[in-house]
Amino acid sequence: MSRAPLQLHIPEPKARPGGVTDFSGLRIPPAGVLARPAVDAPSEQLRDYAYGLIRVLDDQGRAVGDWDPKLDADTLRLGLRHMLLTREFDERMVKLQRQGKTSFYIKCTGEEAVAVAQAMALDAGDMLFPSYRQQGLLVARGCPLVRLMNQIFSNTRDPLKGRQLPIMYSEPDYGFFSISGNLGTQYPQAVGWAMASAYSGDTRIAAAWVGDGTTAEADFHYALTFATVYQAPVVLNVVNNQWAISSFQGIAGGERTTFAARAVGYGLPALRVDGNDFLAVYAATAWAAERARSNHGATLIELYTYRAAPHSTSDDPAGYRPADEASLWPLGDPVERLKQHLISLGEWDEQRHATLLAELAEEVMSQLKEATSYGTLGNPPPNDPGSMFEDVLKEIPGRLVMQREQMLALREGN
C-alpha cells in the first residue's frame, strides 16, 4: 500500500487575469443529438441527460432535433423582446447606480434566456422562487418595470416600503417569491410550496433557481431530499454561470461532475441544457413542468451558461478572471442566437431589430421617468420611517409601538 505523503488538492480555474481561458476542453455536443424522452420515463432511464447537453439551435441558427419546441414566430419574437428588454433595463440601472441613484444593482447579462424562456414555458399560475439573477422572469410575466425601479430606488412607491436591498423584489401578484439575501433558502421553500399544492389537489407547480455556487448550501440538499421523498411537483433549476463572485464552479464541486448529476444521486431526473439556447431552455422547462404537473415529481435542470456581467455593482471581475472570458464562451450570447434564428427563419431582420431596440430603450426611459418622479435613493429621503415597525408581525406589538414613538420623537426633535 502506498505510503507517499498525502496532498491537499485546491481547484483552480483554467485561467486568471492576464491569462487566456482555453475552453476547448469543454465537451459540447452538437445540437439536436439527444432524444426527448417521455415525461413519465423512470429516472433510472434518464441518467445520461445529467451528463449530456440539450441543444436545439445549431451553429447556423437552425432549430434541430427532438427537443425543438416548435414555437411560432410570434412567440419567438416575444422571447427576443423580453430578453432585450431585460438587457436594456440592466444597462440602464447600472448607469443609475453609478450616478448614485441607487446603492446596488445586479445584472443578468448573458443569462437572459434562462429566466425569459423558463417563464414562458411555465404556466402563469406557477409559483416562482428565484435567486437575484432572474429579473427576466418578471419581465416575461409582464410586471411593469416601474415597480422594479421603485423598489430599486427605495422611493415613495417602493412596493417593499424601503426595506429591502435593491433588486430583492417580491411580487406576489406575479407569482414571484420574495428574494432572500441568504442564498438558497428558497429551494426547500419551493418544494414545500409544491408539496402544499399537491396536498391541496391544485394543478399549479413551483419552480426555483439557485446558482452553481449555491448548490453547496444545505438548502440545496434539503430541497432535493424532500423533492424525491414526496415527489413534489417542482422544477429545480441550477444556473451554472461558471462563477460565484470570484470562485469558479470547481470550488462548488463542478470539477469532477456536472451539477445536473447531483439530482441523479437522489433518483431524480436531471436535464443539462445549453442555457444560452432559448429553444433548448424552453423545451427542457416545458418537459419538466409537464412531468411535475402529471404527478411524476421533480426535475433538476442545469442551465449551462456564463455570467458575462460582474457579480454585482460591488464587484470587478478583472480581479479574478481574464477580462475577455465572456467573449470566448463557446455557447455564445442568448440574445444574438435567438435573433439569428429568427433571421434565418425569415421572421426578423436587422432593421426590425434596431427599431425594437429603440422602442425598448424608450420604454425603459419612460418608465424610468415615472419611477424617478417618485424619488431615487435618499432623494427625497424616504418619508415614512414609522413604517419600519410594520410587518415585523401582523399586528405591531406593544414594544414596537413604543420604539416607534421614541424614534419619531427623536426625529421631531431635530
Binding site: 409559483m127 422562487f129 412596493p159 417593499l160 416600503k161 426595506r163 429591502q164 430583492m168 417580491s170 411580487e171 406576489p172 417569491f177 420574495s178 432572500s180 439575501g181 441568504n182 433558502t185 429551494y187 426547500p188 421553500q189 419551493a190 418544494v191 414545500g192 410550496w193 409544491a194 408539496m195 402544499a196 399544492s197 396536498y199 391541496s200 413551483a206 444545505a218 438548502d219 440538499h221 434539503y222 430541497a223 431530499t225 424532500f226 421523498v229 410594520e390 410587518d391 415585523v392 408581525l393 401582523k394 406589538p397 406593544g398 414594544r399
Partner: protein, 337 residues
C-alpha cells in the same frame, strides 16, 4: 372535563386544529405512523390520513424550509423538532426566513407556521436532550416564543399558536409532560390527573399569547418563571415560607410586561428563574426591563436563578438543574438584601 397530561393536551390541540381547518398539516421526524417519540402526534395520521400527518426526513432545516413554503402556499404547518437541541440546523430557515418573510415582502408573503419542540432537562438526557434555547429566538424579531407549564395552557396556547398568522416557536418542557415536576427528583411525581390544571376541555379553546398568569399571589417578592421552573418556584415559595408572588409567563414574546411591572412595584423585589444557561438567557432581558420600569420601587438587586453556564452534564443533572433549594435561597437573599 377530561383529565389530560401535557402530551394528551398537546395532542388534543392538534386534533382540534386539524378537525377545524384542513389547512393544518403536521409533520416531523417519527411523527406519522409512530406518533412521535414522545407520542404527541399519536393517532393523528390514522384519523386524518397520511397526507396530513407524516414522517419527515431527519433534516430540521428541510422541515422548516418546507414549512415556510407550505405557509406561503396558504397552509398552516405544525412541525415537530424532536428535541429543542436539534433546532440549530434549522436556525437559518427560522431566523432569516420564517421570521423575516413578512417584513421583507412588506406583507406580501407570510409563514404562519408553528414549531413544537420538547425542551429542558431533568430526564438524564445529557447535554443534547436537555437544552432550553429560548433566548436565541427571543432575540429574533418576527418570532413568537411560547412555553406552557401545564396541560390546560399547553392546549390553549398551542391552538392560539396554530391560528397565529406568524411563526411561533412552541417549547414543551418535557420534564412536566407527565406531571408538575417541582425539582424534588427524589420524590414521586404527582401525575397531571391529580392536578387541577390537568383538567382540559376536549373541545376548542385558546389561551391568548402574551398573557402571563399569577399562579401564587404574594406580597414580598415577585418570582418570574416559565415552563418547568414554574413548579420549582411554587415549591420554593411554599417550602421557604416566603410570601412570594409566582408569575408564569406562558409566552416569552410577546411579553406581558404590565403584569410583571405591577407585581414588582408591589413587592419591590424580584427573582427571575429559568433552566437555560445564565449569560444572555431570557432572564437578562427580564431583569433589564424590570430595572428599567421599576427602578424606584426596587429594594434589592434582582436575582437570577438559572442553569449554570456549562452544557447540561448527564451525571450531575441535579447539581445543574435549578431546584427549589436554589430558588428558595434566592428568595431569602433578595429579602435580606
Amino acid at each position: 372535563m377530561a383529565r389530560m397530561n401535557m402530551i394528551q393536551a398537546i395532542n388534543s390541540a392538534m386534533d382540534v386544529a386539524m378537525g377545524r381547518d384542513p389547512k393544518v398539516v403536521v409533520f416531523g421526524e417519527d411523527v406519522g405512523y409512530f406518533g412521535g417519540v414522545f407520542r404527541c402526534t399519536a393517532g393523528l395520521q390514522k384519523k386524518y390520513g397520511k397526507q396530513r400527518c407524516f414522517d419527515a426526513p431527519i433534516s430540521e432545516g428541510g422541515i422548516l424550509g418546507a414549512a415556510v413554503g407550505m405557509g406561503v402556499y396558504g397552509l398552516r404547518p405544525v412541525v415537530e423538532i424532536q428535541f429543542a437541541d436539534y433546532i440549530y440546523p434549522a436556525f437559518d430557515q427560522l431566523v432569516s426566513e420564517a421570521a423575516r418573510l413578512r417584513y421583507r415582502s412588506a406583507g406580501g408573503f407570510t409563514a404562519p407556521l408553528t414549531v413544537r419542540t420538547p425542551c429542558g432537562g431533568g430526564i438524564f438526557g445529557g447535554q443534547t436532550h436537555s437544552q432550553s434555547p429560548e433566548a436565541i429566538f427571543t432575540h429574533v424579531c418576527g418570532l413568537t416564543t411560547v412555553m406552557p407549564s401545564n396541560p390546560y395552557d399547553a392546549k390553549g396556547l398551542l391552538l392560539a399558536a396554530i391560528e397565529d398568522d406568524d411563526p411561533v416557536i412552541f417549547f414543551e418542557p418535557k420534564r412536566i409532560y407527565n406531571g408538575p415536576f417541582d425539582g424534588h427528583h427524589d420524590r414521586p411525581l404527582t401525575p397531571w390527573s391529580k392536578h387541577e390544571l390537568g383538567e382540559v376541555p376536549e373541545e376548542y379553546y385558546t389561551v391568548p399569547l402574551g398573557k402571563a398568569k399569577i399562579l401564587r399571589p404574594g406580597e414580598k417578592v415577585t418570582v418570574i418563571a416559565y415552563g418547568t421552573m414554574v413548579h420549582v418556584c411554587l415549591a420554593a415559595a411554599e417550602e421557604s415560607g416566603v410570601d412570594a408572588e409566582v408569575i408564569d409567563l406562558r409566552s416569552l414574546l410577546p411579553l406581558d410586561l404590565d403584569t410583571l411591572v405591577e407585581s414588582v412595584k408591589k413587592t419591590g423585589r424580584c427573582v427571575v428563574v429559568h433552566e437555560a444557561t445564565k449569560t444572555c438567557g431570557y432572564g437578562a432581558e427580564l431583569v433589564s426591563l424590570i430595572q428599567e420600569h421599576c427602578f424606584y420601587h426596587l429594594e434589592a438587586p434582582i436575582e437570577r436563578v438559572t442553569g449554570w453556564d456549562t452544557p447540561y452534564p448527564h451525571a450531575y443533572e441535579w447539581d445543574y438543574f435549578p431546584g427549589p433549594k436554589r430558588v428558595a435561597q434566592a428568595l431569602k437573599k433578595v429579602l435580606e438584601d
